[in-house]
């Protein structure tokens, strides 16, 4: 499902003494359907950068990122948007939503965007919000004023509402208590069970051991300055 080869990334900061921050060089790995792979490496090694490159949020300097037939590294914006709509889900570290939109709609939206009906999508949103223990009286409010852990759970519900064949997870269990963490790990296991290919960053070693089939140490792809 994921096939990454020769991927490199540097940031050229034109206004900060024209610094070039070389982060990654020659990243190669693949992830199959039904597999969950953890990205590891010390802070700053480029784990989140890999995730963002795969999502098309950062621009690759070199290499190929094949996700279900599309090479994200040289795809048109609308092809990337189409991939995000149908194929590739992403749970970012922090929730980013529009003001005024109620939580229930925030969660249902990706499923509707992927083509499901409104009633069906709202039903599934309710189920997920219930599983993730977001109190029902919050559903009609915008998540913008929620606590960090509540926002993260809304974010997770959004990432799991559509059955994406591929998923990117950046610290999905950070800032969650034990029960909610267990629910998230269940969601990951269920997604693997239906054949999703998952790439995740987990600070929590126990979580990694529970859901991941293997780890890839990103520091092996550190670029030589």
């Amino acid at each position: 499902m994921f096939e990454i080869s020769g991927l490199s990334k540097e940031f050229h900061l034109h206004h900060q003494q024209a610094a070039r921050i070389k982060v990654l060089e020659g990243v190669n790995f693949s992830v199959l359907a039904g597999e969950c792979v953890a990205l590891t490496g010390e802070s700053g090694s480029g784990k989140s950068t890999v995730i963002r490159l795969l999502y098309g949020n950062y621009l690759a300097n070199q290499g190929a990122i094949r996700i279900g037939g599309l090479n994200v590294a040289d795809a048109e914006p609308r092809e990337i948007l189409e991939m995000r709509r149908i194929t590739l889900g992403y749970v970012s570290q922090f929730l980013r939503v529009l003001p005024r939109v109620p939580t229930l709609s925030v969660v249902a939206e990706p499923m509707m965007n992927a083509g499901a009906g409104e009633a069906e999508s709202l039903d599934k949103a309710r189920t997920l919000l219930t599983r993730l223990r977001i109190p029902e009286q919050l559903w009609s409010l915008s998540p913008l004023t929620f606590s960090g852990g509540e926002q993260q759970r809304v974010n997770i519900a959004r990432g799991f509402i559509h059955d994406y064949p591929a998923l990117l997870l950046d610290e999905p269990t950070a800032s969650l208590d034990a029960v909610n963490r267990a629910t998230v790990l269940d969601l990951i296991t269920e997604a693997k069970g239906r054949g999703a290919a998952i790439i995740g960053i987990f600070h929590d070693q126990a979580a990694r051991d529970e859901v991941c089939d293997r780890s890839i140490d990103i520091s092996q792809f550190a670029a030589m300055a």
């Binding site: 206004h15 990337i80 005024r100 939109v101």
Partner: protein, 256 residues
Amino acid sequence: MNPIFSVRDITKFYGNQKGCEGVSFDLYPGEVLGIVGESGSGKSTLLNVISGQLEPDQGDVLFDTRHAGMVSTTAMAEPERRMLARTDWAYVHQNPRDGLRMAVSAGGNIGERLMNIGARHYGDIRETASGWMGRVELDTGRIDDRPSTFSGGMQQRLQIARNLVTGPRLIFMDEPTGGLDLSVQARLLDLLRNLVRELGLAVIIVTHDLAVVRMLAHRVMVMQRGQVVESGLADQVLDDPQHPYSQLLVSSILQV
């Protein structure tokens, strides 16, 4: 899928003063393109040229018409272009006073665009106008009031209703949220986003507000001194800008 709109190598000078130069892009149905850049970078010039209000010095603009497919709008006869502007295209001005008739009632403002394309049945027109007031969250009880008695945000929503009533497929907007206070802006953006999605509209929106781009746009084009210096997926350009000027624009220093 084919583009609905294709802009090719557009250049416009005002005498010796450059408006915009060598701008090309394609727009697809349902796509929202944001155009950003500092004041004087040529955003409005470009928008006015591609929406047929200013003649380019060079270049071409093609639109996928309902009857004849891709047609050059710069070569089009004036009456035909005017018809396009009344039906398949819409233009939302920054100042609602430029897009509304202030001496005509709210309902009349919406109805007028329908009458321009041949609607005649008074009852139907009024009903459609009232329906659109509801869709843009205006109190339908104020259908006979003049827009001069509306707040800025209400006027802007009325302008949007007036523009959308003919079922356009392409909308041009120049700073549609400029001059509105923040909570009013958020409401307007939310409304626009829903309409764009429901109706599958293609939109070109000029703004200096990067938050508007993040909320609404799929793609963004960054302009500096009349030229496009960077373009791409909206979140990618905002989070990983490549060009020095784009980096300056997204760095908090210039962000308003």
